[in-house]
Every structure is written in structure tokens, then in C-alpha cells.
């Protein structure tokens, strides 16, 4: 069995999860349960890791071409054999975001290199002011780092800070990542909006996602800036002759500056003592606008570079790298949380993990074969075709409803004549027989022959009394056909339906109409219905 992927969930999984759940809405639950349980059985290695399981679920569905269609559930099935697996919306969006962030990183690197070139090019009196370099390449980036850190604060704290309080506040608006995301194609932004939007039902889940995505993208750019500056600084050191010095208008003690520089150099001093400026270096490289050149110190002017490079590494590059790692981890955590807490996620997990219970028929429904394509019943001895369901799309033909005759030869089917409602039917009988029920078929035949004889003798209709609340049975239809066979044409036969409502009578009328017998009629044997003189005869 293929192993499930254990790669962590990403932005594409979140977008695809939302898309998939939106597409699944309204689909039959049984269909979803069947589909997802089949996937769930392959994901048991991810038990206990719900976010990973959900991500694997959306990836598994995306890998199945037939399940990719995001159209309505009733759409035509795609040809899964020939249709290649298209890229999911999430994958496309994530790639676009990655591209935007990549471009941002390139720009950051270029800006970092340019800033470093600028800082190293500013050479009043031929010297590069160390303070200027550190200000541009270390202090300023850390000021922006503080702003970024403000956005990383917990929501409760952040809400109280001006300018960064609102998620859409000016501070966020000016983040380079946010500006970069605005350059994405409209279609991609439309995909991202529900997943990262600030409003809507998912705002609570998407807010941290959006925040950490922007922060990690911004830190990528900042790290690229630091890398560009560092690389340029090293290139300048290697390929040019740099003369550093420091200068200030303020009346500061060199010892104090030395302590400060030593403090900043603490992290690497044990590893690289030369990267910690000595007091002698500080004294000899200080310059004054109108002081004479201390020619003896020329060789010392270049010794600042280790300190500058290490400052760039430790105080510009490293904090950004750490913050980037943290931002990415928090972003992944936010993705995991969003995946597991999204409305509907728990239901997906339940479908993946719960045994699939199916109780419906696997065969197509509503396709019971009818026998209406067979010719209508004739009047012969062949057994009656059992079923004549109502014609689809229209009214089935109905046998005419007649009134009870004044006199008739009565055949009671089963024990129908024992019903209280049969009293007035019995009253109009000039002769009375019984068939069906507990009688044998031979007894039926005998009763039939005698009834036909009596009807001819008396010149009255034949009346077959049935329990109207029971549906017409094939053996009753067979009996009626035998009766017609025995009487020949033009003998009136009335089926008297005892104790039945309109619906039941309708069933009798539809069923008897299939016999195509013009001298056959059906009457509701309601005791309140008065016999019509000469009716049905």
C-alpha cells in the first residue's frame, strides 16, 4: 500500500480544502462518505495528526482527475481515463505567492547590495565612516525589525498599539510582502481572498494565516537585503581598498566607545578576536574634519572590516534569519490550526476515520423494469401479465365507473360478501356464488360456470364483489378473463369494489382498464349509493 505523504500542510492545502468543501456542499452524504472512506483507509499512518490527514486528503482528491471538477455535483462526469490531473487552485495560488516572494527576495538582495555600495561609497576625506555604515546596514534594518516584531505580538497586545493595531492598518499596508501580493493576477487574488481574507466566516482562522504569511514573506525580503549587504561588504573588502574611520561632533570618551564596541563584539570575540576593535584602533582611526592626517595609522584603517562584517552577520542577517524561521513555523502552525478548525473539517475527518456504513441499494433506483412494452392483455387463457404500472408522464387510462345494477348474479371473491358493507350487494343478488380465498381453483371454475349459466337464465349482469381496499391481484384478473371467455362478448360484468376510497378505486379502475374489455365496468359498492334502475345492464 502506498505510504501517505507526511510533508507538512501548506497554503495550497488550505486553499484546496476550502475549495473542496465548497464543492462538496450539497452532494449526497453517502457519496462523500464512500469517496472519503476509501481515501481514509490509505491514510491510517496519519492517525493522530489531523491537519496532515486533511492535507493528504485534499492532495489525494487533487490527484484523482475525476474528483477535480469544481463544478456542480450534477455536472457530466469527466473522462477520468484520459483527463490529466490539472493543477489545483491551491497549488497555482501557492506558486504565485512563491513567485511574488521570490521576486521580493531578489529585489531585497539588490537593495541590500545597493545600500551597502552606497554606505561604503560615502567617504568624507577619503574614509568610510563606520558609524554611517553601521547606521545604514545595522541600525536601520533593526528599526524595521522592531516594526515587524510589533506585528508578531499577540492579538490582545497588538490591538492596543496604534498603527499596528488594525490588521489592515498602515503598518501592515506598507509591508513589502503585502505590496508584492497586490501584484498577483486577479484570479489568484480571488482564490486567496477567501483563504486569507480579513472578513467573512473564516476571518478568525485566516487572520493569523495572513499575518504570518506576510511576516515570513517580509522577512524573506529582509533576509535577502541583509544577504545582499553582507555579500557586497565582503566583496568590497576583498576587491577594494577600504579605509575606515569614525568621527563625531560629540565630546565622547574613547574608552566608553571601546566598551560599547566590545559589548557588541561579545558574541564573536572568543572566536575571532580581531573582529573586536581594540582601544588603539579606536584612537588611531578617529578623525577630525580639520585635524592633520595621522599618517602613522594608515595601516590600521582597514582593520575595522571584521567588526563591520560580524555586525552585519550577527545583528542584521541573523535576527532576520531567526525571525524568518519563527514566522515560517508560526505560519505552518496557523495552517494546521486553520485546517483542523475550519467549518466542516471535523466532518471530513469523521468520514475519513469512521467505518463506512452503506445501506442503500447499489443498483440504480427507479429503474424497475416495467412490462408495459408488452402487448395489452387479450381475452385468451394466457395468464395475465402481472404489472401494468401507470404510464410515465401522463394519466393512465381509467375504466369507466358504473353504478350497481338493480339485479345481478353475484360472485363473492374470497370472503368479501362477509363484509358488513356487502349487505346491499347480497340484497340485489338473484343468485350468489363464491370463489377465491380458501376455495380451490376447481371450485372457482365450478362457481364460474354456474354463475354464467344463472346470468344467462335471468338475463342480468354478472357482479364480482371484491374487497376494494385490497389491490387487484393477478389471479382476480385471471378469473375475470376466464369469466369473459365463458360468457362471450356483450355480457355485462361489474366489479363491485367494497369499502374503498377514491385512491383504491382508482387502482382498480387503472388495473381493469388494461383488459380492454368494453363490457366490463367497476362500481363502488358503497352502501349509501343507491342502485340505478337498469344501471350497467
Amino acid at each position: 500500500m502506498p505510504r501517505a505523504s507526511v510533508e507538512g500542510p501548506g497554503l495550497s492545502d488550505w486553499i484546496d480544502l476550502l475549495t473542496r468543501m465548497r464543492d462538496d456542499a450539497g452532494r449526497p452524504g453517502a457519496e462523500l462518505a464512500q469517496r472519503d472512506r476509501a481515501i481514509g483507509e490509505r491514510l491510517t499512518s496519519l492517525d493522530g495528526r489531523p491537519a496532515h490527514k486533511l492535507a493528504a486528503w485534499v492532495r489525494a482528491l487533487a490527484a484523482e482527475p475525476s474528483s477535480l471538477s469544481s463544478g456542480p455535483a450534477s455536472g457530466p462526469p469527466s473522462d477520468s481515463a484520459t483527463e490529466p490531473a490539472a493543477r489545483s487552485a491551491g497549488r497555482t495560488s501557492e506558486d504565485a505567492v512563491r513567485l511574488a516572494v521570490g521576486l521580493l527576495a531578489v529585489l531585497g538582495f539588490v537593495f541590500g547590495a545597493a545600500a551597502a555600495v552606497g554606505a561604503f561609497s560615502f567617504q568624507p576625506r577619503g574614509r568610510i565612516n563606520v558609524v554611517t555604515v553601521l547606521g545604514v546596514l545595522v541600525a536601520l534594518p533593526n528599526l524595521f525589525l522592531l516594526l515587524a516584531l510589533a506585528h508578531a505580538l499577540p492579538e490582545a497586545v497588538r490591538r492596543r498599539l496604534p498603527l499596528v493595531g488594525a490588521e489592515t492598518g498602515l503598518g501592515t499596508w506598507l509591508q513589502p510582502a503585502r505590496l508584492a501580493l497586490r501584484t498577483l493576477p486577479q484570479a489568484t487574488r480571488a482564490q486567496l481572498e477567501p483563504a486569507l481574507g480579513a472578513t467573512g466566516a473564516l476571518a478568525k482562522l485566516s487572520a493569523p494565516l495572513r499575518r504570518w504569511l506576510l511576516l515570513s514573506a517580509s522577512q524573506t525580503a529582509a533576509l535577502a537585503f541583509a544577504s545582499g549587504a553582507l555579500a557586497t561588504a565582503l566583496a568590497q573588502v576583498v576587491f577594494t581598498d577600504l579605509s575606515f574611520g569614525w568621527s563625531t561632533t560629540l565630546d565622547v570618551d574613547v574608552d566608553r566607545i571601546h566598551r560599547l564596541a566590545t559589548f557588541f563584539a561579545t558574541p564573536w570575540a572568543w572566536l575571532w578576536p580581531d573582529a573586536s576593535p581594540s582601544r588603539a584602533l579606536l584612537e588611531s582611526t578617529r578623525f577630525f574634519r580639520i585635524a592633520p592626517e595621522p599618517g602613522s595609522a594608515v595601516l590600521l584603517y582597514g582593520r575595522w572590516w571584521p567588526f563591520i562584517v560580524m555586525c552585519l552577520c550577527c545583528y542584521t542577517w541573523l535576527p532576520r534569519a531567526v525571525f524568518l524561521v519563527v514566522a515560517r513555523q508560526r505560519f505552518r502552525a496557523a495552517i494546521r490550526r486553520a485546517l483542523t478548525e475550519a467549518p466542516g473539517s471535523r466532518r471530513v475527518l469523521a468520514r475519513l476515520e469512521s467505518p463506512l456504513v452503506e445501506s442503500a441499494s447499489p443498483r440504480a433506483h427507479g429503474a424497475q423494469p416495467t412490462r408495459s412494452d408488452e402487448p395489452p392483455d387479450g381475452m385468451g387463457d394466457q395468464p395475465t401479465r402481472t404489472h401494468e404500472p401507470p404510464r410515465a408522464g401522463g394519466e393512465a387510462s381509467l375504466l369507466a365507473e358504473a353504478s350497481l345494477p338493480e339485479r345481478a348474479v353475484v360472485i363473492g371473491w374470497g370472503d368479501a360478501l362477509a363484509l358488513p358493507e356487502a349487505a346491499h350487494v347480497v340484497a340485489l343478488a338473484c343468485a350468489r356464488f363464491e370463489a377465491g380465498g380458501m376455495h380451490t381453483q376447481e371450485e372457482d371454475a365450478e362457481a364460474l360456470d354456474r354463475a354464467v349459466f344463472e346470468a344467462k337464465e335471468h338475463g342480468v349482469p354478472l357482479l364480482v364483489a371484491v374487497r376494494g381496499y385490497e389491490p387487484p391481484l393477478a389471479e382476480q384478473i385471471d378469473f375475470l378473463k376466464s369469466l369473459r371467455h365463458a360468457t362471450g362478448r356483450a355480457q355485462s360484468i361489474v366489479v363491485a369494489a367494497l369499502d374503498c376510497d377514491d385512491a383504491r378505486l382508482g387502482a382498480w379502475r387503472r388495473r381493469l382498464a388494461t383488459l380492454g374489455d368494453p363490457w366490463l365496468s367497476v362500481a363502488r359498492a358503497d352502501p349509501r349509493a343507491r342502485p340505478v334502475p337498469g344501471g350497467a345492464a
Binding site: 502506498p2 501517505a4 505523504s5 510533508e7 456542499a25 450539497g26 449526497p28 452524504g29 453517502a30 472512506r37 476509501a38 483507509e41 490509505r42 493528504a56 492532495r59 489525494a60 490527484a63 484523482e64 490531473a85 497549488r91 496604534p162 488594525a166 490588521e167 492598518g169 498602515l170 499596508w173 466566516a201 478568525k204 471535523r346 466532518r347 469523521a350 467505518p355 463506512l356 456504513v357 452503506e358 445501506s359 442503500a360 441499494s361 447499489p362 433506483h365 424497475q368 416495467t370 395468464p383 402481472t386 404489472h387 404500472p389 370472503d415 377465491g436 380465498g437 380458501m438 381453483q441 385490497e470 389491490p471 387487484p472 391481484l473 393477478a474 389471479e475 385471471d478 385512491a503 387502482a507
Partner: protein, 496 residues
Amino acid sequence: MRDGTPEFAPKPPLPQSAHSSAREVPAFAVLGHPNKGKSSLVAALAQDERVRVAPDPGTTTRAERFPLRVDGEVLYELVDTPGFQRARGVLAWLKAEAARTGTTAADRPALVARFCREPGHAARFPDEVALLEPVIAGAGVLYVVDGAVPFSSDYEAEMEILRWTGRPSLAVINPIGLPRYVAEWENALGQFFRVVRVLDAVNASFETRLDLLRAFGELDARWREPLRRAVAALEADRARKLRDAAEEIAQLVAAAAALSVEERIPQDASPDGYRAGLEERYRGVLRTLEHDARRNVEVIYDFSELAHAAEETDAARAALQALLDEDLFSERTWLAFGMRTRDLVAAGSAAGAATGGVIDAAVGGTSLLAGAALGGLIGGALAFLGAGRLARVEVLRQPLGSRVVRYGPTKGPNLPAVLLGRARLHHAVVAGRAHARRDALDLTAESARLGGRFAPLDAGVLRRILRGLGPAADSPGDAVHAIEMLLREDAVRAAD
């Protein structure tokens, strides 16, 4: 692996009845007179609303199997069959053959099997052959009669044939209407069947249906274990559906509580002119939310084609209307960059302080930072007073802000409480509805029938639910659980 390559090889579909071939699967053929609710009983037990149930006899023309599968393993099968049409003819043939061949009672099942194989019988007795075949293959007999009509001798031939099959049997009295003749049927059926149950297939509760399945297990000791597992699986599945429904309802309540609609309006427009339109939009979204949630709950309970009776009564609409009479209309100013007035004041203060700081520097600090403080105050005040005007400023022909009118969200608990109450009623009706029913869902009628049975919503529970679903809540789990408990209790009360 995330480059689009498939991570999973497609799993071959499980062959139908693959498990069932490995051992004997309990099967139950649902038999009886035409139009006595056989298909309704199957639809109710199989929870399949697509089973053909029609008022005309002869709707079922062939045997159809409804297996209960748990992860592909078939635990039992129901077989819907056509009704008896020529039972006396079949019994006559059986008796004649038994007399001719001297068949003893022990050989009667074999004789029934021979009846089905006899040349010409498939054409002459198509329904009887179709309905007896599953029984001959080993299915138990589930004989269904209508307790709303009296017993008659027409049925005796059917029952006698079934007795001749020698299979374990159970009779179900399914009253299609008033159960006036149940006792009469019990007397008659008791002579032919060891177990007789009364079950209204159209209105049977889930628990009643499970009881019938348990009774199946008592027919044959070998069937007890698979039926026990089937009941356990159905109960677990039911519990999952209840949780799903609770989550769906929780989402509805959360969305309704947070619902607001808004519109940007020109600076010189009167907000009141937008009130009616916004209110209508608010109601429309609310209706859509409720409608969608109801459909989703129905789908959870395997009702994908459920028809609805005409919408609610005027009284119900008026009750909702009254809830919306609280004033949810408001107006605010929106600024570019999403800045709130507070942010704008902070920015103004900072700018003012910076300007004041220049003055402080110019006088060599002798002002003791008074310039910065005063500048900050002035800048903040100007920003506060100018927020509205700033909204009118255009940059590149785009206004920096505008006025916004909004309707919602509701401030009190009334609207979520009423929606929750309506969702509870709808859920109880859907969860308790048998799949055999073909009438439209009429919530107004059901409200009159069930409304009084539900426990009133405790204020503390409502607070807990709303707190759990609010914007400040960490996880909606507690609220969903509270709703789940309510739904569970409702279902029990509705079934009573």
C-alpha cells in the same frame, strides 16, 4: 510529493458482496401481499429515500437487494420483492405435487425450490418465482401485512407457502392508516410465525428500526453476531450524523450572530435612505443561511430529495420580524488603509510631536520638549477633527475614504436563540423521519405536533453556546457539544 504527482495509487473497487461470498450473510426477504408497505419497510430500514414506493400495486417487479455494508463488509441484506399475485395457484401446485410424490413435511422446502425451477413457472408465476428465489437461497422471511385493514382468507395461501419454505420467519404488522385490526392480525399471524412485530414503517423511529434488526438476530443463532455488529455500526453512524448536524447548526448560529451587511454611500447622501434596502439584504442573507443549513442537515441524514411544504406561516415570519425590529442600523466613516480614527489620531500626534521636536531642537532644548508635546496634541486633535474630511480627499481620483452604512450584527441573543430553536425543530423532524415517507416536510405542522415536547432552551446553555461561537472564542468545540446534547435530547423527546 507536493509537485502534483499522485501520492496514492488508486484503490481498486471492492467487488460487490466480496465479503459475503466468504461466509453466509444473513438475508431477509421482505414478502407479502402487494401494496402492504414492503418497499416502505425496506426504505425505512435501508434509510434509502430512493426506493420506489407508490400507491399502485405492482410497483416492485423484481427482487432487489439492499445490503448493509460496513467498510465493504456485508453484515446483512434486505431483499425487496414483488407481492404475491397467484398464491393459490402456487399452493395448489405444491399440494398436488406433494400428494403425487408423497412429499413429507421435511421435503417441502425442496418442493418449493422445484416449483421455482419448473419450466414455464417463471412465465406463469413471475412474481412468486421472483419472491421465492431469495428465500430458497437462504434468506429469512419477513412477512409484511397492513394492520389498518382486516385479515381475510386471501392471505392464508401466502402464509402457507412461506411455511412450506421452512425458513426462519418474522411477521411485521405495518399499519398503513389507523391500526384498527392489529389484534386480529396478531391472532392470525401467530399461527404461522414465531415472532410478530408491529412497526409503522413510515413513522418508525430510529430506535424502533434497530429493535426490528435485533429481532432479526433472534431468528437464527448464526445471525445474532452480524446483526449485533450491524446495529452497533448504525448507532455509531447515527451518532456521527448527530455531531455533523450540531456542527452545521453551530455554523448557522455563528454566522447569523455575526451577520452584517454594509454599503458605502456618498458623503452628502442621507443614511436613512439606505435603511430599507440594507434591511432587506440582511433578511435575504439570513434566509439563505438558514435554508442552506437545513439542506445540509437533510443531506447529513441521507435526504437529498426531500420536498418542503409551503414555507412557514405568517405567524412564524412575524415572530422573526419582531426580532429584527431592534435597531441594527449604523453609520461610520471608512478610511483608506483601513485606518481607524484612533490610528489616524496616533499618526497625527506623532507627526505633530516630530514637528514640535524640531522647534525644541532649534531652541537648544530650552523649551523642555514643550514643542513636541504641544505639537503632538495639536496634531492629534486635527487628525480627530479631520477624519471625516480626509475621507473626501481624492488621490489619483480615488477617494481616501467614504461613509459606510451598515445593518447588523445583532446585539442581543434573541435572533440566534430563535434560529437555534428553529434548527432544533427541523433537525428533530429530519432525524426522526423515516425514508419511507414520501410527503413533503411540513415544519409548521411538525411544530404544532412536536413543539411542546422540547425542553426550553436554558439561558445559561444559550450563553455558553453564543460565547463559544463568538469572535473571541478560541474553539467552537464546546458550543458544538452543547448543541449536540440539545439535539440528542430533542430526538429522544420527539420519538416518545
